[in-house]
Structure formats: structure tokens, C-alpha cells
């Protein structure tokens, strides 16, 4: 049995598709950067100061800490108006900046004892009356954990959502070449198929696989939130990954074996004969995973 290498166009096609798709996936990612320093009232640089950056247009916020030299960098920001604040040991600083797309803006914060803009947890809403007898949030018996802002957790949630949005978009995009792969399989596996039919099928399969694993990466790497148990349809979505995940690994391997056998003029045999059934189960599980989070049941 001799391995016949696919035409030179095949690797080139995969490379071109990857090169085209990758920039498109990141084209919409925010790319402005905010840098600066945090200094004490006496002018000394403050290390490990928490710096919060809030987009005043969207409300999106992120946090970071200054390094040992009192510097901070917040990359991947969308253009817009921002409120930048820093705090350490009861000292605060707040500044507003406008970020342009692709720009790097510097803002230097000097900490003072002035009070920081308060969050609702510390600053109750404007009272509808001036009565001194009105109830306050502290009267209601909530624990500090329930009422205090957790900026770090918000940043983690923001990161999680960003990654899962990419996962979702890539998952949807993956469906297109996956369907095309299934359609072209009809012409790739028969007795009278051409090398071109098989190559087209393989290229589409490779693109699907590439997109699938990129999508899976964003789901797997999305941070989990402490104290959250998985409930509802998302459990089905996650469980189905145990079917289409291994299937997406196995299908191309079996496909390569089948491709080799067909190119040698042989009938697809042995373990390679499982390529079709494995692919169908994999595609079915993938489709069910999409539906599990799309339709209510």
C-alpha cells in the first residue's frame, strides 16, 4: 500500500484558510491600551495598587495592579471614555480619559485622601425623602459578602463572558464548514469518486476541525466562578462535548486512513471504515450541543 500525497494545493489551501480566518476572528477585538503610574502624595511610586478602568459608555470594567515600579498597563480596551481609579491604604485617585481606537494613552494618578466615587454598596441611592427615619441597607441584615463590591470577581466574569462569546461565535461558524464537509462526503466515499472530491472533503474537514478546536479552547480556558454549580441546559451542552470532542479527534485520523486507502485504489477497509459512522455521531452531537443552548426544553 502506497501513500499518495495530496496535491500541493491542499496544504496551501489549509494555510490560506487559516490565515484568512484567524485575523477575522480577532478583527473585532478592542485594541487600545491604557498605561500609567500610581504615585503617593509625596511623589513616590506605589506598588500593588489596585487600578480600576471603567468604560463610561458601556459600563465594562477591568482591574489590574501596579508593578513594583508603580506602573500599570491595561491592554485590549475598546475606544471610548474611561474612568480610571486607583486606591491603596485609604488613599484614592480618579481620572477620566478618552481612548481612541488602536491608541496607547498614558494616565498618571496621584493618590490623595479624597473620597473615591462610591459604589451602591457603600452609597445608598438618593433618598426620596429627607426623613432621618427612613430605612437603610444596613438595617436589612445582609452580610458584607452580599453587599460589598467584588471588582476582581467582576473582572473574572467579564473575561469569562468574552471568552464564551468567542466560543459561541466560533461554534456557529464551525457549523458551516461542518455541514459542507458532510455534504461533500457523499461524493468522497463512493466507488466512482475523484481525487478532487476527496480533497475538497478533506480540506473542509480540516477547516471544521481547526475552527472546532479553537472554539473548544475558549470554552475550556474560560475561567470558572467559585461557588457556582452547573445547572440547566448547559449541563447537556457540556455532556455532549464528551461525544463530539473525542469524535473530532478520531474523525480526521480515520478520514486520513480512508483517504489513503481510496487514493491507493482500495476499498476503504479496516478501522478506516468507521470514519463515516464516527463522523455522523460527532456531527450529530455537535448539532445537539448547539441546539441544547439555543432551544428551551
Amino acid at each position: 500500500m502506497k501513500w499518495k500525497a495530496p496535491s500541493r494545493a491542499l496544504p496551501a489551501a489549509i494555510l490560506v484558510v487559516s490565515l484568512v480566518i484567524t485575523p477575522l476572528l480577532y478583527a473585532q477585538q478592542p485594541d487600545a491600551t491604557l498605561t500609567g503610574t500610581v504615585t503617593s502624595p509625596s511623589g513616590g511610586r506605589i506598588a500593588n495598587s489596585v487600578v480600576s478602568v471603567k468604560n463610561l459608555n458601556t459600563g465594562a470594567a477591568s482591574t489590574t495592579q501596579t508593578d513594583s515600579d508603580g506602573r500599570f498597563v491595561v491592554p485590549n480596551l475598546a475606544s471610548g471614555d474611561y474612568e480610571v481609579s486607583a486606591s491603596t491604604d485609604g488613599l484614592n485617585a480618579v481620572s477620566r480619559v478618552t481612548l481612541a481606537a488602536h491608541a496607547t494613552q498614558t494616565v498618571n494618578l496621584t493618590l490623595t485622601t479624597q473620597s473615591q466615587p462610591q459604589t451602591p454598596a457603600g452609597n445608598l441611592p438618593n433618598a426620596p425623602s429627607s426623613s432621618k427615619t427612613e430605612p437603610s441597607l444596613s438595617d436589612l441584615g445582609f452580610t458584607p459578602e452580599q453587599t460589598q463590591a467584588n471588582v476582581k470577581e467582576q473582572a473574572l466574569l467579564d473575561k469569562r463572558t468574552r471568552m464564551l462569546k468567542i466560543h459561541q461565535k466560533l461554534g456557529l461558524i464551525t457549523a458551516a464548514p461542518l455541514i459542507a464537509t458532510i455534504v461533500t462526503s457523499l461524493g468522497a466515499g463512493g466507488k466512482h469518486t475523484s481525487n478532487t472530491d476527496r480533497t475538497v472533503h478533506m480540506v473542509l474537514g480540516a477547516v471544521s476541525s481547526d475552527l472546532y478546536f479553537t472554539s473548544a479552547y475558549f470554552a475550556i480556558r474560560a475561567p470558572s466562578i467559585k461557588g457556582t454549580s452547573t445547572r440547566g441546559p448547559i449541563r447537556v451542552h457540556k455532556a455532549l462535548a464528551w461525544i463530539h470532542g473525542p469524535g473530532m479527534i478520531l474523525t480526521p485520523i480515520l478520514g486520513a486512513l480512508a483517504y489513503q486507502q481510496k487514493n491507493n485504489g482500495e476499498k476503504v477497509h479496516g478501522i478506516a471504515a468507521a470514519h463515516g459512522p464516527v463522523a455522523i455521531v460527532t456531527a450529530g452531537a455537535f448539532g445537539a450541543a448547539l441546539l441544547s443552548v439555543s432551544l428551551k426544553f
Partner: protein, 181 residues
């Protein structure tokens, strides 16, 4: 002042003292339900974790109801986490509702309340929100719907399969208040 005159004045004195005293109300039971519409989904998120207090003074009552954002359960943990994220629920963990009513409103079958709601770091005001009142012994049961929208709180509409949810997120409130004084 002789004894008969003092006895005659006693009811008036008692009534005056009673009116001057503050009456307090405690939220005994509360169910808050937000409704989100999406072309593929209709979702309700429910919380029973609200707490509230009302203080009446000089014929007027100030009420405060607060509920943790994280306490809403839509039946899907992924959706709930996403809800907390888009509403900035870790940064602004409480939803607070304030209103001022006339003390006599407790005797009506329905009221229209002006609400001040703080949520997701924003404050929104809703005028003349209708509530139905039912007396259950000393307790008062109120139910109504706040016509909230995402734009009221500058919340970016969450998307599913790239389709955004509707801007309207009506919040149904059912609560029972119990007088404590």
C-alpha cells in the same frame, strides 16, 4: 385641672401619641421575577431573597427593598452567571428599590407608587407604578410589575446566537408586609 377633665383629655392624648409614634413594616415574603424575551427563548429569573423595611413617620412611610443580584435563578447556571456579568452584579451586588407612600395608602385596594431603583450602578425612576393591595389580617400583600428596560440601567443586551434579547425586562413583584409596631 381636676380629675374628670384629665379623664376626658386622655383619649385625645393617647391618639396624639399613637399618631406621633413610628410604625415599622417588615417584608415577610417576597418573590421577584424578571422576564427576558429572546427570539428563541422566554426566560424568567426568580429570587426569594429580597429583604425590606418600611418606616412610617408623620403619616408618610419610606420603604426600602433590597435583593442580591446573584440570588436570581433562571434555571440555567450559565445564563445566571452571564446575567450577573452584564448587570455588573459582582461590582454592584445589590438591587435596591425605594419608595415613599402615604400611611393611609395601606387601606386602598390599589396604589400607584413612585419608585427609585438602583441597579447595575445606575439609578432609574419609575412614576405611578400600579400595585394591587390585599389585606390579610394585619399583613398587607402587594403585587405589581415594574416596566424596567435594559436601557434604563445602561445594560448592553445579552445575545444568544448573535441575536440580542428584547430591551423590555418587566419585573413582577409579589410581597407581603407585616407591621411590627
Amino acid at each position: 385641672m381636676n380629675k374628670p377633665k384629665l379623664i376626658a383629655l386622655l383619649p385625645f392624648v393617647l391618639c396624639t401619641l399613637a399618631l406621633a409614634a413610628d410604625t415599622q413594616w417588615v417584608l415577610q415574603q417576597c418573590t421577584l421575577t424578571y422576564h427576558v424575551s429572546h427570539p428563541l427563548h422566554q426566560t424568567d429569573g426568580i429570587s426569594h431573597a429580597a429583604r425590606g423595611k418600611g418606616i412610617c413617620h408623620a403619616g408618610q412611610c419610606d420603604f426600602l427593598i433590597a435583593v442580591p443580584v446573584k440570588s436570581f435563578d433562571s434555571g440555567d447556571s450559565n445564563r445566571d452567571l452571564h446575567m450577573v456579568q452584564v448587570t455588573r452584579g459582582a461590582e454592584f451586588p445589590m438591587v435596591t428599590v425605594r419608595t415613599r407612600l402615604l400611611e393611609s395608602a395601606g387601606n386602598d385596594a390599589s396604589i400607584q407608587a413612585d419608585l427609585e431603583i438602583q441597579f447595575a450602578g445606575q439609578t432609574a425612576h419609575y412614576q405611578h407604578v400600579p400595585f394591587q393591595l390585599t389585606k390579610q389580617g394585619a399583613d398587607v400583600r402587594l403585587s405589581g410589575t415594574i416596566p424596567a428596560t435594559l436601557t434604563d440601567f445602561k445594560i448592553e443586551p445579552p445575545t444568544l446566537l448573535t441575536l440580542p434579547v428584547k430591551n423590555e425586562i418587566p419585573v413582577r413583584i409579589e410581597m407581603t408586609w407585616h407591621p411590627t409596631q
